[in-house]
């Protein structure tokens, strides 16, 4: 390929991503060190000409604020906890599904896979909204349980942490199933036969052969669920109610309700630092998939 052609093919997506993906983070970092002001834009400049001299105002106040108010620490912790537990649940639900699909014959396999993916092609918001009608106090579950007479008081399900778990597992399940399936379907059946031939019972074959060999899929799936869940806004907002504290919601409120851009930026930076390790983990897996 000619040098010029090759360079321009690299340059176009490269520059786009540089400008609209990387540079924004630098700006967020910059503004997280600024002070809020009632103006347009609502933050101070870091670099200013004061008394004919260049001064840099690095304001660590936003970060100090995040440390002093324990709301933020609690929000980060509970986000990570909720995301982690929801990821474990999604793995427990998703793995058997992926396994079952991988074991079907190839025609059925594609149809089943499409059925798993289909819901994620319909609106995320609408799927979460569907659970509101099911879980609320006069919703489908409570109404039917009461009309049958099993309970006489509605069980509070909406606006609980339970509903958030349910929402995350429901919305992100396909993202767990897909990478695990891709991994399992490549597994050479003769390995399982060899294991059986050498006297290993099926459950032990699963634990010693299948599970370790699908590790990459499990990691990828878990990262695809865990990382976005930590910063999830829609699910805690619609299903979690006031009690569920998640950092995505806090950021949203800081930005839209308090209009404090510098604090919102600081919240984002800390979240990003928190997610750096899992994102790197995911990137390593994904770039192997992309290039291999």
């Amino acid at each position: 390929m000619s040098k010029l052609g090759a360079r321009s093919i690299i340059a176009v997506p490269y520059l786009w991503l540089l400008l609209f993906f990387l540079v924004p983070f630098i700006i967020v970092l910059k503004i997280s060190f600024a002070e809020m002001q009632y103006a347009i834009p609502p933050y101070t400049d870091l670099v200013a000409w004061v008394d004919e001299g260049l001064t840099i105002n690095l304001n660590l106040g936003n970060y100090a604020y995040l440390i002093n108010d324990d709301l933020y620490a609690r929000a980060y912790l509970s986000s990570v906890r909720i995301a982690f537990l929801a990821t474990v649940c999604a793995l427990l639900v998703g793995y058997p599904i992926a396994y079952a699909i991988a074991r079907a014959d190839s025609a059925t396999r594609n149809a089943l896979l499409m059925l798993v993916m289909l819901p994620s092609w319909t609106s995320f918001l609408i799927r979460i909204y569907a659970w509101v009608g099911i879980l609320k106090n006069n919703g489908l579950i409570n109404n039917s349980l009461m009309s049958v007479g099993i309970i006489d008081q509605p069980i509070a399900m909406l606006n609980t942490e339970f509903a958030v778990y349910l929402g995350i597992v429901y919305a992100y399940l396909p993202f767990m199933v897909l990478p695990i399936y891709t991994n399992l379907v490549k597994l050479d059946n003769s390995l399982l036969e060899a294991s059986a031939d050498l006297g290993c019972p099926p459950w032990k074959t699963f634990l010693t052969i299948t599970l370790p060999l699908s590790k990459a899929g499990i990691i990828a799936g878990s990262m695809l669920v865990f990382i976005p869940s930590v910063g999830e806004f829609v699910i805690p907002e619609m299903l979690g109610g006031a009690e569920t504290l998640m950092i995505g919601k806090v950021l949203w409120q800081e930005f839209f309700n308090n209009r404090d851009w510098p604090v919102a930026s600081a919240v984002a930076i800390v979240m990003l630092l928190l997610l750096l390790v899992p994102i790197t983990f995911f990137h390593r897996y994904q770039s192997r998939e992309l290039e291999a």
């Binding site: 690299i10 786009w16 991988a102 798993v116 092609w121 399940l173 695809l224 930590v230 984002a268 994904q286």
Partner: protein
């Protein structure tokens, strides 16, 4: 893996899984035909919420804006995403490739609030220092959507490109076609189905996005998810059920078409790539 009849265990897992995935959607669809205002009590069959939906100018306006953005964003990100996957799969190593591949994969998992906030701050900073973009609206949403959709398209197209035997492209060069011609005469027709599914994926992702659009939109550019979100915040409304049903219907049809195309091309090319 072993291919064969599904075991009872597998069948149980699949049935429970699919029940979990589809029951809420089904309930949503059923109650969209409910006469009553109460979303959980069946009061008879009616199309009245569909009528109301189509008389709601705000909903229709938002839907139109969303469609425009999704069409533009999907088409742009297919071009960028295809270029990106060629860079990833076929270009070998070059300076800055690690940075490039990180920027391709990170948007796949980046929490939307972070992406939304950072893009907004970029647009504000650019508006201040460059005077562009003057105000936020369809243009800024388009840029934001292209940025994260490109990553998804790149994943879909890359996996197809990897399966494509590189010697097919070399053969075309060997027979006298320069690289750009090889791409349009040979590579593109073979990976076209992947481009199609990449486009559809980008289209639905764009159509579906609430969080990022909320950050980077401006006055007069309320998208459909934003409109839906503000109306469900007020409480449950059967009109939303009607909308949901239409979205699900459209998505199902689109996915089936895409699946059918993919199956057909799979049958055509499996022999060759193996």
């Amino acid at each position: 893996m072993q291919t064969g009849k599904l075991s009872t265990w597998s069948k149980t897992f699949l049935s429970v899984g699919f029940f979990f995935l589809y029951a809420p959607i089904l309930i949503l669809v059923i109650f969209s035909f409910n006469k009553s205002e109460l979303v959980t009590v069946w009061a008879g069959f009616s199309f009245k919420w569909y009528g109301e939906l189509f008389r709601d100018p705000q909903m229709l306006g938002a839907a139109w804006i969303s469609l425009k953005i999704a069409l533009l964003a999907a088409s742009t990100s297919v071009v960028l995403g295809t270029m990106a996957s060629i860079v990833m799969v076929r270009m070998g190593t070059f300076k800055g490739k690690t940075a490039f591949s990180s920027m391709i994969t990170a948007p796949l998992v980046m929490p939307e609030v972070i992406t939304g906030l950072s893009l907004l701050l970029l647009f504000v900073a650019m508006g201040q220092s460059l005077g562009w973009p003057g105000e936020r609206g369809i243009l800024t949403i388009w840029i934001a959507h292209v940025t994260f959709c490109t990553a998804f398209v790149a994943v879909v197209v890359s996996s197809r490109l990897q399966e494509l035997d590189e010697s097919i492209e070399e053969a075309a060069q060997d027979l006298g076609a320069p690289p750009w011609k090889v791409f349009f005469l040979v590579t593109l027709p073979i990976i076209a189905p992947a481009l199609m599914s990449g486009w559809l994926l980008a289209f639905t992702l764009s159509l579906d996005d609430l969080v990022i659009a909320s950050f980077v939109s401006g006055p007069g550019s309320t998208t459909l998810p934003m409109q839906v979100f503000s109306s469900v915040r007020m409480g449950i409304s059967p009109q939303i059920n009607a909308l949901a049903t239409l979205v699900i219907l459209a998505a199902t049809i689109a996915v089936f078409i895409a699946w059918w195309i993919a199956q057909r091309s799979l049958k055509q090319t499996t022999h060759i790539s193996k």
